[in-house]
Amino acid sequence: MDGRLSAAVLRSLSRLAQGYLISATLGIALGMAIARIGWLRSTLRPLVLGLQALPSICWLPLALLWFGLSEKAIIFVVVMGSLLSIAISTEDGVASIDPLLLRASGVLGVRGLRFYVGVLVPGALPGIVTGLKLGWSFAWRALMAGELLFVAGGLGQLLQQGRELLDVAQVMAVMIAIVAVGSVVDQVLFRLFEVRVRRRWGLAEAV
């Protein structure tokens, strides 16, 4: 049991990592573009907000049609599940930067790439981190749903197997494993990172 479990966990996590990395990169880029470019904001923002309401599992049929029964399909579902929430949070993060700071940057001669990388991204970071945290949990859920429906190794498959073999113990064990992985990443990784960012940015409450 243990051998299969750890193998499954690794399989699921690797898919998650790939999908999540793609959606984080695209999501942050999209969010920043929407925040800064006027015409992009008026056209894409309603679309992004609308699509975000779509439960991520609804992307699976489309993914299967486009990518067939492959890894790509699952990763696509993971990406679509988290991309939009990351983009929205990033856009909020950029919008919440003190406008005086942006004006001061102009006066100080901070322009171009240095402005984007040195002022916009750090300035929006609290919002971006929130988005990444949200995106992670959406991605995890999307992955589990995808793996359950489209059997291809990983924890979802183990869950299905347990059901087929009428093995309640296996089903529960896998559920615990899923919760454990999700919690560990959420609590340890993100909590740590988020707290550090907020403290440095001066947003932490006084203890």
Partner: protein
């Protein structure tokens, strides 16, 4: 009797110590020619402003809220394009904001994720300095504002006065041609403000930077400035351009200074009474008059009052 004599003596000396500015020959550092500005909501922020700022001068723009002093400063900074007239620095027209005309706002506007030292190094690197030089220069200016022990502190760990000192150090480190300051000490308490006056005075006496300083506080203008340009609002205009001939460093409680501030206060009060009668709004009530007056400017596009301009 001695009180009367004292008053007479004070009046006499104040006549000598606060005189209209004389015109100087040579190219002005910052030339403001017939500048006027009207906002899109048709408020005349500035009308016919003509000022020359010379190299090494400390000029204070003094006036009540709404007199256009912040608008003028923002126009000098390049953040507002005046609807009439033009502004030039060292002979070249002012096009947009830039580090040659550093603007220090009322809020420190420090990058909250960078330490004090990093805040200064970041903008110096943006200017083009290499890391070791930027670091050295940043440290020197941090020392200049007496903040060495706080080099590695983050902005949220600093008090208001300390953040303002960092903002000042950052502006000075950029070595601008002109330093523009928009009521920088307005948000500080009186105690901190007088410390900042001393600091600014001592730094300025060493460096002799060209400074344009906006304030509504008459004492502050007299303590800091070589010249005080007194402005009034509705419409925004220059009332008087006065030269302050007190010796430096200046004591804010000195008799002469208090007397000079009294004179300026009366000047402002008189102007306020005149302004009570509603002035013509641009291009509405007196169209012929406005046409003959190029400095007033026409309504310009979609300009909005700058952040922080009192209206």
């Amino acid at each position: 009797m001695s009180a009367v004599l004292k008053r007479l003596r004070q009046r006499y000396w104040s006549r000598k110590l606060l005189v209209p500015s004389r015109a100087r020959t040579g190219l002005a550092k910052l030339a403001v020619r017939r500048v006027g500005h009207t906002f899109s909501n048709e408020v005349v922020a500035l009308r016919n402003v003509d000022i020359d700022v010379h190299s090494g001068e400390f000029v204070c723009l003094l006036g009540p809220s709404g007199c256009g002093k912040s608008t003028l400063l923002y126009a000098l900074a390049g953040l507002v394009k005046p609807s009439g007239g033009h502004i030039s620095l060292d002979g070249r027209d002012v096009k947009g904001p830039g580090p040659d005309r550093m603007l220090v706002f009322q809020a420190p506007a420090l990058f909250p994720w960078l330490t004090v030292r990093q805040n200064i190094v970041f903008v110096l690197r943006a200017k083009g300095l290499r890391r070791p030089e930027a670091l050295q220069r940043a440290r020197a200016f941090i020392r200049r504002v007496h903040l060495e022990p706080f080099e590695n502190a983050l902005p949220h760990q600093l008090s208001g006065g300390m953040s303002m000192r960092v903002a000042l150090a950052r502006a000075l480190a950029m070595d601008p041609a002109v330093l523009l300051m928009d009521e920088p000490f307005g948000a500080l308490d009186a105690q901190t403000r007088s410390h900042m006056h001393e600091l600014l005075q001592s730094i300025w006496m060493r460096e002799r930077k060209t400074v344009v300083f906006v304030t509504h506080d008459i004492r502050e203008a007299l303590v800091l400035g070589d010249r005080v340009v007194v402005m009034a609002g509705r419409p925004g205009r220059v009332l008087e351009d006065l030269e302050v001939r007190l010796p430096r460093p200046r004591d804010p409680d000195a008799e002469e200074l208090v007397e000079l501030s009294r004179r300026i206060r009366m000047l402002l009060a008189r102007a306020e009474r005149v302004s009570e009668t509603p002035p013509p709004i641009a291009a509405r009530k007196e169209p012929e008059h406005e046409q003959a007056d190029p400095g007033a400017g026409r309504v310009s596009g979609r300009t909005v009052p700058p952040l922080g301009a009192g209206l």
